[in-house]
Amino acid sequence: MVAGAAVVALGVLLLLDAGGTLDLHFGVLGPVVCAALGAILLASGLSRPR
């Protein structure tokens, strides 16, 4: 679920950028992509059994 939410949020941001509502330059996109990937990996790792 976390992976889905992260990808959807990223998609929304890219859509807003394409529509001109947002200006996503590297300084903004870099942290966003890192955070999305980090959230996906962290959720995946924590959901595995110990």
Partner: protein, 406 residues
């Protein structure tokens, strides 16, 4: 529930509590706070908030099972990427010291944490203490190959972690030199150092190799010696005691029962299983040993246990040493009752075995008698504990066994 772990913590136990709750390595959580502190002090604020809001608790019984393998890698990578995201955000917002300070700090912290973790990690217990040819003979070549691969994988993982840690610290140095414009000057110094290291390496390499081989051989010899002592102590406590009882017995039924019990016990030991009636908890194992001694020698053995814990290898040794002390008390205590008092609280386990028999002069025990020296004192020392025998002619005997543990 999330609680601060004050027992394992360095400051308020926030990192240790989070690590315990989510089953991750505490080094990773501490590293995350340190790195986040470089992003405008977020880590410090987050730690202070955690200290304030998370209720304090104790670590509780038992060791926490942390995630390993793929789950651990995913958690570490995920945390790292989230931290990078935070750092990049603060850099973009301008809440930033400088690239020359923050990035090297982050790399040094990550590399240092890896090296520190590797150097302080307890060596994993080998899959088996039996030599490979014996494993192959008893369990087949496939098992022997699997165990050999497992040992190789562990060694490779340890070397990889240390290598990545060193690479990160070196990279931090290079980033710092590059950012401060000192890399050009440092290059000449670096070349000189490399040349000296190569020359010294060529000169001293054979000596270093010999030294490493000699240390490895010495370690193997020490392990073999400990194994021999362990086998000797076990044989003394089991087979020799049973043979002595067989010699004293006139009843063929009793002799057959003794032989059957000894056979079951020996087979379990050879297969690496706990002896029948053992395994589980400290108090029940001591009671089982007391019942066995009582049955064999016809002397009452009273056990009082305060606190209890799971039996690990070291506590199995405590039970074996206590059993030997009970056997000695039953054999040489002139029929006086044997009292056993065991206490296991916090980080210490203590067992006292007392009798009110004739006692003996501890200094007069011949060196070839293994009962006290190897089965009790030596066994406790090999497992990180200690044993003290207090006795004098006419005043009974007390054996104290102490084991400190985490």
């Amino acid at each position: 529930m999330l609680r601060r772990d004050r027992d394992q913590g360095w400051l308020g136990g926030v990192a240790a509590g989070i690590a315990r709750r989510f089953g991750v390595d505490v080094s990773l959580v501490r590293l995350a706070f340190v790195v986040a502190a470089a992003a405008g002090g977020v880590g410090v604020a987050a730690y202070a908030l955690g200290w304030l809001l998370i209720p304090a608790g104790d670590s509780g019984p038992g060791r926490v099972r942390i995630r390993t393998g793929r789950a651990a890698v995913e958690v570490a990578l995920g945390t790292g990427l989230l931290l990078v995201a935070v750092l990049l955000t603060f850099r973009e917002l301008g809440l930033w010291l400088s690239d020359a300070a923050v990035w090297p700090l982050v790399l040094v912290a990550a590399g240092g944490a890896l090296i520190w973790r590797q150097s302080t990690e307890e060596p994993a217990a080998p899959p088996t203490l039996r030599p490979p040819d014996r494993v192959a003979r008893e369990e087949g070549p496939a098992t022997a190959t699997a165990i050999s691969r497992e040992e190789g994988r562990r060694a490779a993982a340890a070397i990889s972690r240390t290598g990545v840690g060193i690479a990160l610290v070196v990279a931090a140095g290079l980033v710092f030199l590059q950012a401060t414009g000192a890399l050009g000057a440092a290059r000449d110094v670096l070349l000189g150092i490399v040349a000296v290291v190569v020359v010294l390496g060529v000169i001293f390499a054979p000596w270093v190799v010999r030294l490493v081989r000699s240390l490895t051989q010495e370690r193997a010899e020490r392990i073999r010696s400990q194994e021999r002592a362990e086998v000797a102590a076990h044989l003394h406590d089991s087979v020799l005691q049973t043979l002595a009882m067989v010699q004293r017995s006139d009843d063929p039924t009793e002799v057959a029962a003794l032989a059957r019990r000894q056979e079951r016990e020996l087979r379990a030991w050879l297969a690496g299983r706990p002896a029948p009636g053992q395994g589980g908890r400290l108090a029940s194992a001591l009671e089982a040993a007391a019942a066995e001694v009582e049955e064999q020698h016809g002397v009452p053995v009273e056990v009082v246990a305060v606190g209890d814990r799971d039996l690990d290898q070291a506590h199995e040794a405590v039970v074996a040493a206590a059993r030997e002390a009970m056997t000695n008390a039953a054999k040489f205590g002139a029929g006086s009752p044997v009292d056993v008092y065991a206490e296991s609280n916090g980080g210490r386990t203590q067992v006292f075995v007392r009798d009110r028999g004739p006692g003996f002069d501890t200094a007069a025990v011949p060196p070839d008698r293994r009962g006290v020296s190897e089965s009790i004192v030596g066994r406790m020392e090999r497992h990180g504990g200690r044993a003290r025998v207090t006795s004098a002619p006419g005043s009974g005997t007390e054996v104290e066994l102490v084991l400190d543990h985490s």
